[in-house]
Amino acid sequence: MRHLTKAILLVAALGAGACTNADRFAGDGAGGAGAGMGAGSGIDSGIIPGSANDPASPAYFSQTVGDRVLFAVDQSTLSPTAQTTLDGQAQWLLTNSDYLAVIEGHADEQGTREYNLALGARRANSVMEYLIARGVPQSRLKFVSYGKERPIEICSEEACYAKNRRAVTIISAGGLTS
């Protein structure tokens, strides 16, 4: 009886460990940045540097803080939800002062190419100005617009358009020089 309980607990603990690891690597894959730095380091419960559970990692920034904000049709004003996300981004950038950021502005496909480039710039600039107002040094920030050239959702319906009208903050560790 005692042996049996012990065995079950052991199995449960192994199982939990496996699950944690699986989540961690899945997160890294989705984040696409800084993944797998400590992948072979064993079965202890330490946080792998660079993984999504590491608060100083780009993966943590994109998944937990939130790397993007969305906009209404033809608008570049920041919603309360967007402002909350950007407060988190500003906080993270102030904490992790080695990182630089490029804010990418995007538009949905319902517009002409040139106008959408300018509209995406407006959106990205809104985000940049908000981050600057929250104390992030301007020298660490840049923005670029892709207009309607880089949709992430491809249907021609509002459900997709809503996700494509976005500004995404891309973090890089000193990779941005000027």
Binding site: R113, P151, I154
Partner: protein, 444 residues
Amino acid sequence: MKALLALLSLSLSLAIAAVPASVQAQSPGPLRIEITEGVIEPLPFAVPDFIAESSAAAPYAAQLSRVVAEDLTGTGLFREVPREAHISQITSFQSPVQFADWKAINAQALITGAVSMDAGGRLVVKFRVYDVFAGTELGDGMQFAGTPDGVRRMAHKVADQVYSRITGEGGYFDSRVVFVSETGPKDSRAKRLAIMDYDGANLQYLTSSNSLVLAPRFSPTGDRVLYTSYETGFPRVHLLNVGDVQSRILQGSDGVMSFAPRFAPNGQTVVYSLTQGSNTDIFAMDIAGGGTRQLTSAPSIETAPSFSPDGSRIVFESDRSGTQQLYIMPAGGGEATRISFGQGRYGTPVWSPRGDLIAFTKQNAGRFHIGVMRTDGSEERLLTASFLDEGPTWAPNGRVLMFARETQGATGASSLYSVDISGRNLKRVRTPEGASDPSWGPLQ
């Protein structure tokens, strides 16, 4: 000759007059636009295979007449009487034409031609145009000479002559189009610059797909191309030499976006948009000296500038009123006059090479249109309607527009189309891949 000219000019003028008339009839208010579809009876013509006057030229004889026929029928203004129906055979370029035989098959125009190869290996192409019902030659016979790889161009030149003599309009067949060739799905689309003859032949790629490129624009003489490239990570205006396919960055610095470039008629000045903060304005730059000048200074989006053919004015789009609309300002900047007042949004204005019309993209009630209006904004006509039509460019004669049409949905793709300014003869332009952002070059 007079009979033929009279007939065609009658049908042409009828067709053109019919468009505004029917718009008026269907729309009581001045701002409501209905798309009209007129029908014109194409003029029947015959073009027997050109006569090969030397054996070395024989492989080109049939090709020449086929390209001429495709050019003419492609306008929608002409219809070929098929060779199977021909009664007479043209066996000599010099022999008199048996007009009765061509009348009998109702060919109102007859085009005859001959091709030979000279001692230097150059093709020599001769042609004549006849008004069959008048029993006369229409204009003088002409000849062109060139290397055999230019055989399609020589055929285009023949067709341009025929088109001009019969319509009284300039031709547009011996011209090229630079555009963006597209592959891949919407969420990972690759784009590269390509150049081709107006009919899709002789396609050549000018850039690789490594960097996103947008909106190439021909110089007035067709020797250079302005475009926007993300090669540096930020959209910047580039200038490409068509001859050696070398390009260089023309405008913008790291972190500063410049885009929507277009040449002035002098080929030396470039206008483009520059984004500073949230504000996009129009600037002009002298290519040789590099000096720049800011032409607009509103806190709104000003983009898509296009010069009038005399270089004195610029039409552009701005959302200073709250939505995208069209404005005209002096070429040196200054006060702008709004010219678009219809429902919806107006963008990508392009001044006609004839100076009389401005073509544009209109977005209204979830649909996109290519349209034209006079330079004072009057007589707006919508020529097309679809899920997404965009970015018109003028044929050198100002009678035909080419534009990009993107289909709806997850599998959406972009293709090039052309349409007459009357709204007739809408047709797809053949490209091997997806295609967008066409810019139609000058007659060569």
